[in-house]
């Protein structure tokens, strides 16, 4: 059995050897060359295009130009309160129907508080130069006025040393009819600016003159528009403040009456002097509150029957 297997193995080896002996065929040389050439062609590196030397500086310059133009565009399209107070023209959307007169009128209205300051300053005995009396940026006028008043109050003996600037303003404001008129004009101006004219686009938040919803107020507040008139409210007399829809007369922690810009959808549009409980509570989530109003002695107090009506958001228990 093993001999038979060995024979078979030997035979297989001989067959294999014979086969290999007869297998000497080779591919022709021209085929070898053709195949090798094809392999070389297939891996021939593709020459990379070199970047031109000006590519990098040009791209940097393009990025810089784009950035600068974008920044300047943003600055142009979003003016701040400081832009307005610096005397720059308002970037309100010009209404084609109203024309240039309306824009000019609005600019005059903005400048009017400066005139009020001038009048008040003259009444309080402070001499100001023509340059200062001329229409100035609102912020500068207010700050300057407040600083000077504080200095004046500190220097001259006062029967009411604790009197606040606000109450002083009230006193002075009520004493002078012209000042009252100016203040009322400012209140009207505020109302005009906030109440949208029929058929015109108002640059101010829509909630101002209407029964605005909380959502609208919130949305507009986020845009930061309502903060533009905060300074204007401070300029009002208490009486004018009570008539202004955009402002609310409130008693602060120091028991001093201050005219604040409306801070929520409830007091926005609420005229403290004339609006009723019903008109307040007609707004969703608002409650009418009549807070006690105490005035310092010897002052022409605005509090009517010692009550100061407020329209506030309902407090969630």
């Amino acid at each position: 059995m093993s001999d038979h297997s060995d024979n078979q193995f030997d035979d297989d080896k001989k067959i294999s050897a014979l086969y290999r002996a007869g297998s000497t065929a080779q591919p022709p040389a021209h085929i070898d060359q053709a195949i090798r050439a094809k392999a070389r062609r297939s891996v021939k590196p593709i020459p990379q295009r070199a970047r031109p030397p000006w590519a990098m500086p040009a791209s940097i310059a393009a990025v810089l130009i784009l950035s600068i133009s974008l920044i300047s565009l943003i600055h142009k399209e979003a003016p701040t309160v400081s832009d307005i107070s610096s005397g720059a023209p308002l970037s309100v959307m010009p209404n084609e129907e109203q024309g240039n007169e309306t824009i000019a009128e609005k600019e005059t209205q903005i400048q009017r508080p400066a005139a009020i300051s001038k009048q008040k300053t003259q009444q309080s005995g402070i001499e100001i130069s023509d340059d200062q009396a001329s229409p100035e940026p609102i912020n500068e006028s207010i700050d300057m006025l407040q600083t000077r008043r504080q200095k004046t109050e500190a220097n001259k003996p006062s029967p009411l040393p604790q009197r606040s600037l606000a109450s002083t303003k009230t006193e002075k404001g009520l004493a002078a009819d012209s000042s009252m008129e100016s203040n009322n004009a400012t209140a009207r101006q505020l109302r005009q600016r906030t109440v949208p004219q029929p058929g015109s686009q108002s640059p101010m938040p829509e909630f101002s003159g209407l029964t605005g919803t909380a959502e609208k107020f919130s949305a507009e507040s986020k845009k930061g528009r309502h903060s533009e008139n905060t300074k204007s409210c401070e300029l009002l007399t208490h009486k004018a403040c009570l008539d202004a829809e955009e402002c609310s007369l409130v008693m602060n922690n120091q028991k001093v009456l201050v005219c604040n810009r409306s801070m929520n959808h409830c007091d926005a549009g609420f005229v403290q002097r004339s609006d009723t409980k019903q008109s307040c509570e007609a707004k969703q989530g608002c409650v009418y509150v009549s807070e006690p109003c105490t005035c310092p002695p010897d002052t022409a107090c605005i509090c009517d029957k010692n009550q100061l009506p407020q329209c506030q958001p309902k407090k969630i228990p």
């Binding site: 067959i15 080779q26 090798r36």
Partner: protein, 186 residues
């Protein structure tokens, strides 16, 4: 230059653009592949050259897709086998044996000993004739075993059969050749 020069590494190098690696691979496999195709086409030289070029062209074209999941020679012979099958399907004619075409091969073998030469040539001719008459499966298995120097596992992989089937085909082929070959040749 080429340190780790097994077939698979050479092919990977070629796929990354190393032409020298291809030259080594080609030199290593050109003759066995050519003879495999030659035997499969039953010594049709023109067809063999055409298919031989096609196989290498396919390999060059698909070099970037090469994955060393199998032995390179298995991969190469699979391409060759598929090309031959495609050709047979295309012409729908079984390759015709042409034993006369391999006289040159036989004449080239053992030509250093004139006495043995005549005997060997005769034996080789007989062997070639018997091999060409083998059934296709056995014929292919025999060529892959002795031409491509593949083991049975690789033959099974190339031909797409089980190891047992490949082993069985080779056993039958060898048995038949032993029976047919004259004793003086063995």
């Amino acid at each position: 230059m080429i340190h780790d020069n097994n077939d698979e590494n050479l092919m990977l190098r070629f796929s990354h653009g190393d032409v020298a690696a291809f030259d080594v691979l080609y030199e290593r496999h050109r003759a066995p592949l050519f003879r495999y195709i030659l035997k499969k086409t039953r010594h049709n030289n023109a067809l063999t050259e055409e298919l031989f070029q096609e196989v290498w062209s396919n390999l060059i074209r698909a070099r970037e897709q090469y994955q060393p999941s199998a032995r390179f020679s298995t991969y190469l012979f699979q391409i060759a086998r598929n090309r031959i099958i495609d050709h047979v399907r295309r012409v729908s004619v079984r390759p015709v044996s042409d034993p006369e075409t391999n006289h040159e091969d036989i004449a080239n073998a053992n030509n250093h000993d004139p006495d043995r030469h005549a005997h060997s040539v005769e034996c080789i001719e007989q062997l070639q004739a018997h091999i060409s008459r083998l059934p296709d499966e056995q014929h292919e298995t025999f060529i892959l075993k002795y031409e491509g120097e593949h083991n049975l596992g690789h033959i099974a992989e190339i031909t797409g059969v089980t190891l047992e089937t490949a082993k069985s085909r080779l056993r039958y082929a060898m048995k038949k050749l032993r029976e047919l070959m004259p004793e003086e040749c063995l």
